[in-house]
């Protein structure tokens, strides 16, 4: 903690959080490495495994003002059996909704392996009064959320008030109790890979079980370079402290091809130990249909038609 305070008073970028070293990021090298990992070609049986894995790590998400209980129930039905015509398709990892709809999702998923995730803590800006944010988290957990997605206080982080950002995440972790805490960094608003690396470290040290790229509410979302940057931060964290933190990529992931590019990035950076729902998630809404289309193509050899797959 003393290191964190030390950072707060210095004018330059943070180089350590609570004793954990933060290495600077080589932006050109990072982007080039991420791009080269995205050229990997995946064939036949590996592709089939990658598609099934993409489904198993998916957080099926609906975060719209127009979400109704019926819509969430329909989404939960899809989460259990993503393809109504083919029950060999595995269930997704979790369904992610707004707090008010957590009871609906919890009831619909009661006897299933699918977890209920809730955004909370003043999503998507994270600038509601602190008491209100903590109360929202506690409410969502009490209502049945197994996982809580909060946002980093970018206002505090970007103005150099690292201690405040840290304390809020630590408080949120307490409010979560036994539920898993995912911290959304909203990388599109952080400005540089160095800031992404620093905020990743800050969130992990403060107690995050997962760090997550984006809310999906702004234009810039997960990119391969951002995913690689955060995966490297997680690797550093694991090497320095032995703690394994999960990675969730969200926003803008729409095609099966993008999904397996991310699987390659995570697998190559963190090892296959991270390619499980416990340590890796893909937050998406429209990705599932494309994965199901590619899966059907692998099974019957025909290129598929989008209209033949469910809208929601």
């Amino acid at each position: 903690m003393t290191d964190l305070l030390a950072v707060e008073t210095s004018a330059g970028p943070a180089d350590a959080v609570a004793g954990v070293r933060i290495t600077p990021v080589d932006a050109v090298g990072l982007e080039q490495r991420a791009a080269s990992l995205c050229t990997r070609s995946i064939k036949t049986s590996s592709k089939a495994d990658a598609l099934d894995l993409a489904i198993r790590v998916m957080d099926l998400t609906t975060l719209e003002g127009a979400d109704t209980p019926e819509r969430v129930q329909a989404l939960c039905t899809r989460a259990r059996h993503p393809d109504a015509a083919d029950w060999s398709v595995p269930p997704v990892a979790a369904v992610c909704v707004y707090p008010e709809l957590v009871p609906v999702a919890a009831e619909a998923l009661a006897d299933s392996p699918v977890a209920v995730a809730s955004v909370a803590g003043g999503f998507p800006a994270g600038l509601a009064p602190l008491d209100a944010r903590m109360a929202e988290i506690a409410w969502a957990v009490a209502a049945g959320a197994d996982e809580v997605d909060i946002v980093l206080n970018r206002s505090a982080f970007l103005s150099g008030r690292y201690q405040k950002a840290y304390d809020e995440i630590a408080a949120a972790k307490q409010a979560c109790g036994s539920a898993h805490l995912k911290v959304i960094l909203e990388t599109g608003e952080l400005g540089s890979y160095d800031q992404i690396r620093q905020s990743s470290m800050l969130a992990m040290v403060a107690g995050a079980d997962f760090i997550k790229t984006s809310t999906g509410k702004i234009g810039t979302s997960a990119t391969p370079a951002v995913a690689l940057c955060m995966a490297e931060a997680i690797r550093d964290m694991a090497e320095q402290t032995g703690r394994a933190v999960g990675l969730k990529l969200a926003g803008g992931i729409r095609t099966a091809k993008q999904a397996w590019h991310y699987l390659v990035i995570v697998g190559e950076t963190l090892g296959s130990g991270w390619l499980t729902p416990e340590r890796f998630r893909l937050g998406a809404s429209s990705l599932l249909n494309d994965v199901l289309m590619q899966r059907a193509k692998l099974l019957d050899g025909r290129y598929q038609r989008r209209e033949d797959f469910s809208v929601d």
Partner: protein, 291 residues
Amino acid sequence: MSDRLAVNKTYKQFIGGAFERSESGRSYPVAGAGGELLANAIQGSRKDVRDAVAAARSAQAGWAGRTAYNRGQVLYRVAEVMESRRDEFSAEVARAGDGCSHEAAAQETASAIDRWVWYAGWADKFSTVLGGANPVAGPYFNLSVPEPVGVVGIVVPDEPPLLPLVSRLAPVIVSGNTAVVLASQRCPLVAITLAETLALSDVPSGVVNILTGHRNELVSPLAGHVAVDSLDLTGCDAELAADAARQAAATITRVVSASAAERQWADESAQSPYLIDVFCETKTVWHPKGR
């Protein structure tokens, strides 16, 4: 000028409004009448078929949503641009395949241009002729309207090089369908020159996609593609057509092939409003009549 190096054209596939090499990176030599090398054409792959169908699919609603009058104008514009490049088309036709005299090539080019104009004229007339108001026993208006089926795959016969391509393509797109064309395997070059004309003629990107390559590689993924709504197998031999029809049946894709009369390419029997109709689906609407 004698020692000047010729600058030869690269004949690339036409997918989604862009001229692209194959995803597979392959090409194949195209021979002229005397066996001499004319050029290397792109040897497309099944992934090119996939990309072309995706482009055709996304362009279809917008093209069908144009007014009939506008589609007619766009087709007429194709004829205008071809007319200005008559000599280029004639030269390409004359040296393609078995080759023909310059007079015969000029005649084929002129017929192809006239065929565009003929179908352009049908754009705002075929639904009146092929559809109509039906008398029914009740207080309703009952209207039948031909609507485009969607994405049509067209396998063009080998020869002649130009006229069959235009004769099969124009009736497909005039009603609002989009097309994925497998060009003649033996004479693919003039099809790509036509694609250049289309790219300059207000035809929206993706409405016509032209692939070159080996039929026995490309017909199967095209016929099996679930997003292809109708297939014109005029350019397939009996064995390939039977195989494609089997694939098409599994996804309820309509299969069409030119009749003997329609294969008299230079004759009027090769053009007909019923060729537009065969790539349409009739929608019937009931509307209550006021009292």
